[in-house]
Amino acid sequence: MIGIINCGGANLQSVMYALDRINLKYKVSDTWNDLKNSRALILPGVGAAGTVMRNLKNLNLIENLKNDTRPILGICVGMQIFFDFSEEENKKCMEVIPGKIKKFSNRQLTIPHMGWNKVKFSDPYFEDCNGYFYFANSYYAGISEHTLGFTHYGIKFSSFVNKKNFYGVQFHPEKSSNIGKKFLTKFFDMI
């Protein structure tokens, strides 16, 4: 059983359908008690980092999540809030992965970074997932020792990160067609 945290993100339904397609059982909840028995968690996120942080805080989930040891996959903004800080609304985040979420600042680029872009996985386990994934982001995490996959958009940024049990993807595997399905399958096989 996978626990999907309902923190108000509009991609919640899409994440559920994606897990249906790979035959994974899940439970969706915004209450810690309901999520206690799942083997892993997903934090879907669409919208603004500040909104997702506020929702998690109002649900009293932040401390529980920070102290949990099960694998957790943050998607898009769900990944960004694992970091220390986001330039979006200058918001302090969960501080489980060091670093700051910044806004794409190259004036030549259209922002949001929207559409299909190439992800190169540095982790050999995911090498066969190298390819085009769907993105929709204006903010990004830079490259660090926690980068497991990267993408270019004006600069090179982290599209897959990990520290301890915290995993995050900037792309939307739930909307990335067959390659997204493959990524999710491999991810939940691995953990």
Partner: protein, 255 residues
């Protein structure tokens, strides 16, 4: 590198995909879910569903076909037509759409753009603009779903494009009305002008008739995506063939 998007647009009326010429004389082309699966399998990058019934006739409940599409495809899709309020937009996003596209309601109530962007983020707020060249300048039209309701807003396209972005639009679909449905190519001249003013992704719409039209619009206007309907619906252009041609022209696309 971020790839250029090929976006089939499906006009939906009472649960059927339809197509008309210059927005008129709608003809039934097929079932939305079946066509969605077909295009997703052919490597379309994204789909737009334009609910032309809601936009003209008014409707407050999101249709079950939207949910069926979300269940059956795993590429992003956008729903347009009849979205006049934050609550309607939220309902559509919550049942699995990735973006909502607003046209007339944004013109009649521009602060709706700010509200939507604040609530859901700019990335899901698409502004559709129906732009008409009257011989001297480009102007925005509203309620273009039927000839009877269609009206000239008095706004210049360049001004509205700017305002929509300032209010939080995350993408612009520019439908060049002079070209729509006549299949003589995208409006290169207009799209070049608008692309220079557009800081968010710009999607070209209206006029695609052959594969070369897609090549032209990407090479000449550098738009982020190209939307088309009938050439895909009646199988004149296969998306995979189109993408292979674009790759030969060194236009980055996802295969």
């Amino acid at each position: 590198m971020l790839t250029k998007r090929i976006i089939p647009c499906l006009d939906v009326k009472k649960g059927h995909v339809v197509k008309g010429i210059k927005f008129q004389n709608h003809k039934i082309m097929g079932d939305p879910v079946e066509l969605a699966i077909k295009y997703s399998d052919q490597n379309a990058d994204e789909l737009v569903f334009y609910d032309i019934y809601s936009s003209v006739e008014d409707s407050s409940v999101p249709s079950s076909w939207i949910e069926n599409i979300a269940k059956n495809i795993d590429i992003p899709f956008c729903v347009a037509g009849g979205i006049k309020s934050l609550s309607k937009a939220s309902q559509i996003l919550n049942i699995g759409a990735d973006k909502i596209s607003i046209n007339t309601p944004a013109l009649e109530n521009p602060s709706l753009i700010n509200k939507l962007a604040k609530a859901h983020g700019s990335q899901c707020v698409v502004i559709g603009i129906d732009s008409f060249f009257n011989g001297s300048d480009y102007f925005v039209y509203a309620r273009t779903g039927s000839e009877k309701s269609k009206y000239h807003t008095g706004k210049k396209t360049v001004d509205w494009l700017q305002e929509a972005q300032d209010r939080g639009a995350g993408e612009i679909v520019l439908n060049c009305m002079n070209q729509d449905g006549v299949r003589e190519g995208y409006d290169i001249e207009q799209l070049e002008i608008m692309k220079n003013l557009c800081k968010v992704p710009l999607i070209a719409s209206g006029g695609a008739g052959c594969k070369g039209d897609f090549k032209d619009v990407f090479l000449k206007c550098d738009v982020d995506g190209a939307l088309a309907a009938s050439v895909f619906h009646n199988n004149e252009i296969k998306i995979m063939d189109l993408k292979r041609d674009l790759i030969c022209e060194k236009i980055p696309v996802r295969l």
